[in-house]
Amino acid sequence: MSAPTPPPGPAPTATSRSERKLGKLFADIRKAFKKKDAQIPYVAVFTKSATISFPPDFSVASFPGLLFCHIIRGSTSDQVITYWRDEDHFKSHSPAFLSQVALPGQGGCGLVVDLKQQSASVWERLSLKERVLGIFALAGALLGIRVYLAELIAAPDVAISYPDFGRLDVVEGAQISVPVTVWSQVRFASAKVSFSLASMQLGITSKQLNLDAAVLPNLPSGQSASVKITGSAPGHTETQESPDVYILSIEAKAKAGVLWPSAQIHAPSREVWVWRAAPSAPHPTVVRAVGQVCESKGLVYVSKPSASGLDAEFVLNTPRDVITEMSVTAAANSSQRVSQAETASTTTRKIAFRTPPFDKFQEYHYNFILYSSTPVARSDCETWVGALEVNLQEVRGEK
């Protein structure tokens, strides 16, 4: 380990050392004057015709109240300028000072008044410690102001969302309960959210729903709150067999900063399917009418679970002697029972079987094929399948 080598360059001269000392001296003077709690220094000047120098064991600390002192070297005489805290200290300790420095007597003294100096920049006037403290103080102040400003001018950045996705299935007349999450993305301020609308719409039909909290008065920054939308599902429309598809609409007003206007916010649109309580079967759709075959596809909407399956019946009335055979292809848990009855002009055909078990809100698909005695036109096919009656009923004894 060797001591660090001093950097190369010219050795400091006596002048440059003196200038540095002088600079430090004035800095100390300024510092002394600038102290809030400092009293106005008391200055005393001592003159001596001979050369003055401080003894080797001289120390400012030996003289209470003496802030600092220095010598002014003149051509004919030297002067010692002393700066005291106040006149009392001067009077008490100046005799000892004069004695140690070997000065003849007082030249002039008095309070420093009306000090003029060149203005220095803020940074020059502050020490490093003060600068660091100042920066932190400024940062703290800005943080405080930021929160205050956010309370005034924060934009209401609030979102409404659902915790789950996809459509919502509900049986007609049943209770609806939809959780909704309101999430504030407003920074440094709380938001107020007032719900203005919660409804289900089907065309021009609208069903109002209830909210367990219509107003969220103080939604903290970055936080979310849950609101539950409740109500009873409307009855199923009589005009169709498939579930009614409503659109769930949720609107609210959000406000954050006092001076910032409220914003209208919406939840993403979501479908609500209102199912019939009993299984419902729309007419099947004709897939093709080729030759003497009429093929169609259909489905039954089953809203309630059925552990034992359902008793399925497919009944068709057609003009007599037109259809030679009727077949149904669908998932079944039993063999099919096929029967037929006739009047003078019509034939009634029936196929019955047991379906597999159902979970709630299921679509039960089937293929329905008619075989005709003559070539089939699509219009005939549509007429026939339009007369098909599909019935799925709970197995007797089961609810």
């Binding site: 009589e238 009944v315 009335n317 009047t343 009634t348 019955a352």
Partner: protein, 290 residues
């Protein structure tokens, strides 16, 4: 050789004639009729009709045609048979057994089924029909009330779903509000259909041992008792001990008054129609399956 052949031919002819005569003598009867909707009298096509003999063997079956008509031939004349009628979406499901004496060559048995629906319009039609029949049968208010209760009891025993019963009750109360005040019918009418549906499912599940009995949907005691009694009577394994055990459980939920309602309904459940004129006019003459 020729003579022998002629004899054999004659013997065969005689046997054929004898067998044919015997066949027509043993099975010379038919059963026919019409199956209609009880509320609007519309024909119900595709109704399964099943005829069983006294031993429970199926001796004939058919389905109704587009006019609601059925015809089962080849039945034994002067025999007693039981008939069953079933059609998806209708109650009773099946309707029967109903005993028929095939006293003549052609016998008629017309039946009416009720649609298991909660459509209000349907039950307005039905209750209007009931009112007409009740008003025609008697002018005494007390007797009318009893007749409404009797029809109501039949509805419950028919296996009609609770929401449909609720809608039927609304229809009844609408046509005779004063008469049906403070009755079970009014209680049914006062409960919303969704609560009826869910409460009904709860009670049925409890009767079948699939869930613990509760009153989550605030059903009145008489409504709950009616649902429970119908379900208990429907179950084949509902012996006296089972009913007693369930009654105690019922008491813990609906109290003593609820238990009394249940006991009353269990002991007065309508097993057999009294075959009154009212029953005939409404097509209720029907034996509940045991």
């Amino acid at each position: 050789m020729l003579r022998r052949a002629t004899d054999i031919h004659l013997l065969c002819c005689t046997l054929f004639v004898l067998l044919s005569t015997s066949n027509s003598w043993c099975q010379d009867s038919e059963l026919k009729g019409v199956v209609q909707d009880a509320a609007n009298s519309q024909a119900i096509a595709g109704t399964d009709v099943r005829v069983e003999n006294g031993q429970g063997t199926v001796v004939g079956k058919s389905i109704t045609n587009a006019d609601g008509q059925y015809r089962i031939t080849g039945l034994k004349r002067n025999s007693r048979v039981t008939t069953y009628y079933s059609r998806g979406g209708y109650v009773p499901h099946p309707r029967g057994p109903e005993e028929v004496l095939l006293s003549s060559a052609s016998n008629t048995k017309n039946v009416q089924l009720l649609r298991d629906t909660s459509e209000a319009v349907y039950w307005v039609q039905w209750s209007t029909k009931v009112k007409t029949a009740v008003d025609a049968s008697t002018s005494d208010k007390g007797q009318r009330l009893e007749q409404y209760k009797d029809v109501w009891s039949w509805l419950g025993a028919s296996g009609l779903s609770a929401p449909a019963q609720g809608q039927a009750a609304r229809g009844f109360v609408a046509i005779a509000p004063d008469l049906l005040r403070s009755t079970e019918i009014e209680s049914f009418a006062s409960v919303d259909l969704d609560s009826l549906d869910k409460g009904d499912a709860d009670i049925r599940a409890a009767v079948n041992g699939q869930a613990k009995l509760s009153n989550r949907y605030s059903l009145p005691p008489d409504v709950a008792a009616s649902i429970a009694a119908n379900e208990l009577n429907k179950r084949k394994n509902s012996d006296a001990a089972t009913k007693l055990q369930f009654s105690n459980e019922f008491k813990s939920v609906w109290g003593s008054s609820g238990e009394q309602e249940l006991q009353f309904k269990l002991s007065h459940s309508r097993q057999i129609s009294n075959d009154s004129a009212l029953d005939k006019s409404l097509g209720l003459a029907w034996v509940k399956p045991k």
